[in-house]
């Protein structure tokens, strides 16, 4: 086992690379994020979908080689659809997300530091307060019977990744053709 300190140092290093890339991509900018949500600038989608495709091929190869053990999260409609929509409202109102707000703070954006950051801390705390009341009810409503897309679609893992790659590449092709 690696030491705790080395583990934390790797976390910091990975974060530095992630933050560097987020800024170079424009994702630490309110204007770029709102441009995506207003459907006038598809930079965020281009970054996310290419990360998903490139990442998926690599991590599933690593898993096949026995080098990593992936841990896809399970969930439910009550948890992921409801939580996702609440998040989405906050995403549009704030104009940053939990990762990009860290980048925006590094970028010097004071609305992120003085407004958004205390807000996220407060919202996370509020959830910790209400958690005992929702954990066995709403959060479990409509549990997904299948945890992963290959199980849901009854396709082999690599066929799913292939299909996803074609669909996402097609979507990006349409976005480029529309010059968005």
């Amino acid at each position: 086992m690696k030491s705790k300190r080395a583990d934390l140092a790797w976390g910091l290093l990975f974060g530095v690379v992630f933050g560097f890339l987020l800024h170079k991509g424009g994702a630490t900018s309110y204007d770029v994020i709102l441009g995506q949500l207003l459907l006038t600038d598809f930079t965020v989608l281009k970054i996310m979908l290419s990360a998903v495709v490139v990442g998926a091929v690599g991590i599933h190869l690593l898993q096949r080689a026995g080098r990593v053990r992936l841990s896809p999260k399970g969930g439910s409609w009550g948890k992921n659809a409801v939580g996702g929509l609440i998040f989405g409202v906050g995403f549009a109102v704030l104009g940053y997300c939990p990762g990009t707000i860290a980048g925006a703070i590094g970028n010097g954006r004071l609305d992120a530091l003085v407004g958004g950051l205390p807000g996220i801390l407060l919202g996370s705390w509020l959830f910790a307060v209400v958690y005992p009341r929702v954990r066995n009810g709403l959060l479990r409503k409509g549990a997904f019977p299948k945890g992963t897309l290959p199980e849901l679609l009854r396709l082999p893992r690599w066929a799913t990744i292939g299909l996803l790659t074609v669909l996402l590449a097609g979507l990006l092709y349409l976005v480029e053709r529309a010059e968005l």
């Binding site: 140092a9 910091l12 990360a51 998040f87 910790a128």
Partner: protein, 173 residues
């Protein structure tokens, strides 16, 4: 030769591929997916612990998500540093209150922007914990693991975000 380091923007496809490759290494070396939002829960718990003391640890949520510094917290600190480094190299490290797009629609008042950002942050933090992940944990790391829950969450993030952004900028503004 190092011009690319000082460029303000890289192609989104290069950035996305870079994040994808980065995720190979976070799995391979640390055995973990890229994610951010749990850190804000841990930090909120740590702050509450400073104010109210050890009894905070009795909250069921903090028994599951301990208010402590972990790998992901360091990742989030790293994001601040990495973005600052990139911004510094490209001359974009500027303290600014009001984003352009916001100013065009709602003016340059600092109080209004800070208040709305606080409100948005509360919803974002609450929603991230409710959904058990954010744009990175579900939107990138979970979707690439082919998790159904992550795909539903990510679609929810953008459905909610697109709807409310239209409302804010095309109806209210």
């Amino acid at each position: 030769m190092t011009d690319w380091l000082t460029e303000l923007r890289w192609s989104p496809y290069v950035v996305g591929a870079g994040i994808g490759i980065l995720s190979w290494f976070t799995w391979l070396i640390s055995g973990k997916p890229i994610g951010c939002s749990t850190t804000f829960s841990r930090a909120a718990g740590a702050i509450e612990r400073l104010v109210r003391g050890e009894r905070v640890l009795n909250r069921p949520y903090y028994r599951e998500v301990a208010p402590a510094v972990d790998w992901q917290a360091m990742l989030v600190v790293g994001i601040v540093i990495g973005a600052a480094a990139s911004a510094l190299l490209s001359g974009d490290l500027v303290a600014r209150w009001i984003p352009h797009q916001w100013e065009g629609a709602f003016g340059s008042g600092i109080g209004l922007r800070a208040f709305v950002a606080l409100l948005g942050g509360i919803l974002l933090g609450f929603g991230a914990r409710w959904a058990d992940g954010c744009t990175s944990g579900h939107g990138i790391s979970g979707t690439m693991q082919l998790s159904v829950a992550s795909w539903v969450s990510a679609i929810g993030f953008f459905a909610g975000g697109i709807g409310v952004a239209q409302l804010l900028f095309r109806v209210l503004a």
